[in-house]
Amino acid sequence: DAGITQSPRYKITETGRQVTLMCHQTWSHSYMFWYRQDLGHGLRLIYYSAAADITDKGEVPDGYVVSRSKTENFPLTLESATRSQTSVYFCASSLTGGQYGYTFGSGTRLTVV
């Protein structure tokens, strides 16, 4: 199916565990993004990628790692999960960097216990 898909939809993990959230898009968009959504904070940029093998930090990158070996995939890894990383995570893609808007996935709700 065409579009942008995230997996898993829901994840519960323990403090200190490593967890990876997956994002896959079928449009060959150059740009991909990871945002977290928290009540009162809106959407905050964690990392973004302008192309395969090119990634850069957003405004809240601490505790997260990304990679982009293929254009279509942009996984987000929490190296050692903390309760403050409990959030809803959205992946997005864009043909350009933002000038024509983003297309978001359906999100992953992550709970760290």
């Binding site: 009162g40 809106g42 905050r44 957003g58 959205f90 359906s106 999100g107």
Partner: protein, 115 residues
């Protein structure tokens, strides 16, 4: 840190009412101001966007008004319907050296339209 300030945080209107959501921004990398609509359990979806060579843009019942001198823009929903109940986000392009052009989002407004 660059911000986009969105208000109100929540809004309740009766069916047929005209909810108005406001956003104020700081300097931006380029002129493009989108609004996103998010339903529960879904990702945000692009609703409407404006480039401020015009002061107003309409798409169906949704209108963006833009005031460049005041660095403010707003979303109006005409003849609001219960199906419009959602969270709305405004956004503006960043100007920071490492994130130029990337969208920064407002805090969101939760709209409830009562039947």
């Amino acid at each position: 840190q660059q911000q986009v300030k969105q208000s109100p945080q929540s809004l309740i209107v009766q069916k047929g009412g005209i909810p108005i959501i406001n956003c104020a921004y700081e300097n931006t990398a380029f002129d493009y101001f989108p609004w996103y609509q998010q339903f529960p359990g879904k990702g945000p979806a692009l609703l409407i966007a404006i480039r401020p060579d015009v002061s107003e843009k309409k798409e169906g019942r949704f209108t963006i008004s833009f005031n460049k001198s005041a660095k403010q823009f707003s979303l109006h929903i005409m003849d609001s319907q219960p199906g419009d109940s959602a969270t709305y986000f405004c956004a503006a392009p960043r100007t920071s050296s490492s994130n130029t052009g990337k969208l920064i989002f407002g805090q969101g407004t939760t709209l409830q339209v009562k039947p």
